[in-house]
């Protein structure tokens, strides 16, 4: 019986003013990042929240607390029954989420993807911060620049099942084999999105491959983890560290010269642009076939097919990292 009382008081706490038929006149934008426990995704959401405020729309976001394909589908389906107007998704898994997104479109909900795309028929537009090829290109070219075109390097990624990471890896390998034959990818290790595990992996990599000269960490917690490992091994400068990560998490290492470049894009802008495009889509001002999209404050963006391009990846290094605080 105590459990029942507890439930009732919890209900009272959450109960809002009576009015089950309250109509809401604002547009509702719902955003689904890949996971909520990840600073990268949360900073996209921060930009998106700001955009929603500027545009005067209702903003919801929810996401798995760990990267989980099934959870994303469930959340999308929940939003369908909540009757949101637009859904913006960073797809953990392309095919899986497309199932739910197609359903949403059938019910008249607009769909837009960002950061990681779904199947083209499942969404109207994809706000692309940078293509996987572009990201791989930036990373591989930077690695080649730092190593002078030859030497061993290793990749640390989040998990072996993360789809976009594997895609980046594929393009990195393709670029390496095509353009830099004197370089060699010696190992790919997962870190389960844990900084500490990335540190252990990097330590093992350095001792297993004595000629290793660069570690490419393509998941954001792995960059500071690998950098710390290099620092603790006393190999700063001898083993370079580059990766995809947030400036705030890597500032220390970049300044100390352990990490050379952190490549990313302006995540807040990505979130902001996504919401702007979503709202424009819902209001009808952005239609399929458009060639460009003008944002209130971020400028004009080219649309290639149905990809709204944020631009090229941005390289944070010692010279500019202080200008950013995300």
């Amino acid at each position: 019986m105590t459990s029942r009382l507890l439930r009732l008081s919890l209900a009272a706490a959450f109960l809002l003013p009576p009015g089950a038929a309250a109509a809401d006149s604002k547009l509702v934008v719902a955003m689904l990042p890949k996971s909520k426990g990840n600073a990268y995704h949360m900073s996209c959401v921060a930009g998106a929240t700001r955009a929603a405020r500027d545009l005067g729309v209702e903003f919801l976001f929810d996401g798995p607390t760990d990267s989980n394909a099934a959870k994303q589908n469930e959340i999308v389906e929940n939003w369908i029954t909540l009757g949101v107007d637009v859904i913006a998704v960073a797809a953990e898994n392309r095919e899986g989420i497309s199932t739910a997104l197609r359903k949403a479109r059938r019910q008249g909900i607009q769909v837009i993807t960002y950061d990681a795309d779904a199947a083209p028929d499942a969404r109207a537009f994809f706000v692309n911060q940078a293509t996987p090829e572009g990201i791989a290109q930036a990373l591989m070219d930077d690695a080649a620049r730092l190593l002078g075109g030859e030497g061993e390097f290793a990749i640390i990624l989040a998990t072996l099942t993360a789809a976009n990471q594997r895609e980046w890896q594929k393009h990195i390998e393709a670029r390496w084999k095509a353009l830099y034959p004197k370089m060699k990818l010696v190992a790919t290790r997962p870190c389960d999105d844990l900084k500490d595990k990335a540190q252990s992996e990097a330590t093992a990599l350095m001792s297993a491959h004595p000629n290793l000269r660069l570690i490419m960490a393509i998941c954001s917690p792995a960059v500071p983890g690998a950098a710390e490992a290099v620092k603790q091994a006393g190999k700063t400068g001898r083993v370079k560290v580059i990766g995809l990560g947030l400036p705030s998490e890597n500032r220390r290492y970049v300044k100390e010269g352990v990490t050379d470049t952190v490549i990313l894009w302006k995540t807040e802008d990505l979130g902001y642009l996504t919401v702007e495009a979503a709202v424009a889509l819902a209001r009808g001002t952005l239609k399929p076939g458009a060639k460009s999209f003008t944002s209130r404050s971020l400028g004009t963006f080219a649309i290639q097919g149905d990809n709204i391009l944020l631009g090229k990846p941005f390289a944070f290094n010692k010279g500019n990292i202080d200008q950013f605080d995300f």
Partner: protein, 353 residues
């Protein structure tokens, strides 16, 4: 003393009935607090039929795992590997269909068989070799997940399943989501097995006292084995439904599901030490958790806080503790019972801590 079926006050206060009250209370709460109409005048939120069907569809796989675990936990064992068996079987299905070119119905049948084989590994180690279930299934939890990752090298995903197969996970049949019918069938079979056959009764006897069961002439090892084999088979079925629902098979399928399944079973009144519990209790437990998770996401306040996922986890944990605490008195006895030395001291008791 009144006969049990006439003792209304006791009947109404039984664990399962309390759970029914909780379920009703939260359903009603979410109905009134989580249903509104949107700008277009359409009814949205918890109170819509679509939402209810979604709750049903989303909870089928975990529900199947919870059903799979109920006989196992009744015998005083546990199976932490059901989620990993799900993942492994999903990959196996994709492998047979895409890489071996088998027609889907055959591939699905083979997957069910593979699930039973996977359960068989647990059965051999636990029932035949008398190893502790917690640790064996901890090992197979890693093993099966690891095999799934090794086969796919983590990256391979099986997709593009034919529409006929996807129907199972995504469409409705005779008014209800298709997988709900399968789930209902399995639920019925498991319920009959546990509550109406001598097999099923023996599960509870074994959980209550394995030595007593042995002296009563029950083939304890065979019954235990049956429990784990069944769990593996049902996990394989859940894998098929999961793949149909998502339209893809990947090595991380079912990750974390075993914990929810165990929570549902315990919430439903089955003692983790074995010996007492019901299948309908498990079903109520699954429903309670599913409604909680889903309903929270409909509340405007929760949406404003963007905290549906975390709150669902927090409240589920709290609910579990409350459910245990509320049943404290009858639970104290199993705690003492579990620490009693079995008569035959060369074998460990089949009861986990």
């Amino acid at each position: 003393m009144k006969p049990p079926s006439r003792d209304w006050p006791a009947l109404l206060l039984r664990h399962e009935m309390l759970l029914v009250y909780v379920l009703l209370a939260e359903w009603l709460f979410f109905y009134f607090a989580g249903t509104t109409t949107n700008r277009r005048g359409v009814l949205i939120g918890f109170g819509t039929l679509d939402r209810q069907f979604d709750i049903l569809r989303h909870s089928c796989e975990i529900g199947l795992l919870a059903l799979a675990l109920t006989p196992v936990i009744l015998t005083g064992g546990i199976d932490l590997s059901v989620g990993s068996i799900l993942g492994f079987c999903a990959i196996f299905l994709g492998l047979l269909w895409r890489d071996c070119g088998l027609p889907l119905p055959l591939a699905a049948a083979c997957t069910l068989a593979m699930g039973v084989v996977a359960g068989g590994l647990n059965a051999v180690l636990i029932a035949a070799l008398r190893l502790p279930p917690l640790i064996v299934t901890l090992g197979t939890y890693s093993l099966f997940r690891g095999l799934a990752e090794a086969i796919t090298r983590g990256a391979i995903t099986y997709t593009d399943f034919p529409a006929g197969f996807l129907f199972l996970g995504q469409e409705r049949w005779l008014g209800l989501p298709a997988q709900a019918w399968l789930f209902a069938l399995v639920a019925l079979v498991v319920w009959l097995l546990v509550h109406r056959t001598t097999f099923g009764r023996s599960f509870r006897v074994i959980g209550f006292s394995p030595e007593g069961a042995r002296y009563a002439g029950l083939p304890v090892e065979r019954r235990l084995a049956l429990g784990y084999l069944l769990a593996g088979g049902i996990a394989a079925l859940a894998a098929i439904i999961y793949t149909a629902r998502l339209g893809q098979a990947k090595a991380d399928a079912g990750l974390g599901y075993e914990l929810f399944a165990i929570t549902a079973v315990v919430l439903g009144g089955t003692s983790i030490f074995g010996g007492t519990g019901t299948v309908h209790g498990t079903l109520l437990g699954v429903a309670t958790i599913a409604v909680l998770k889903n309903g929270l996401a409909c509340l405007p306040l929760v949406m404003r806080l963007n905290a549906a996922e975390e709150l669902a986890g927090l409240l589920t944990g709290a609910l579990l503790l409350l459910a245990l605490a509320a049943g404290v008195l009858p639970r104290i006895r199993p705690f003492r019972r579990a620490s009693r030395r079995p008569v035959d001291s060369t074998h460990p008791p089949a009861v986990p801590p």
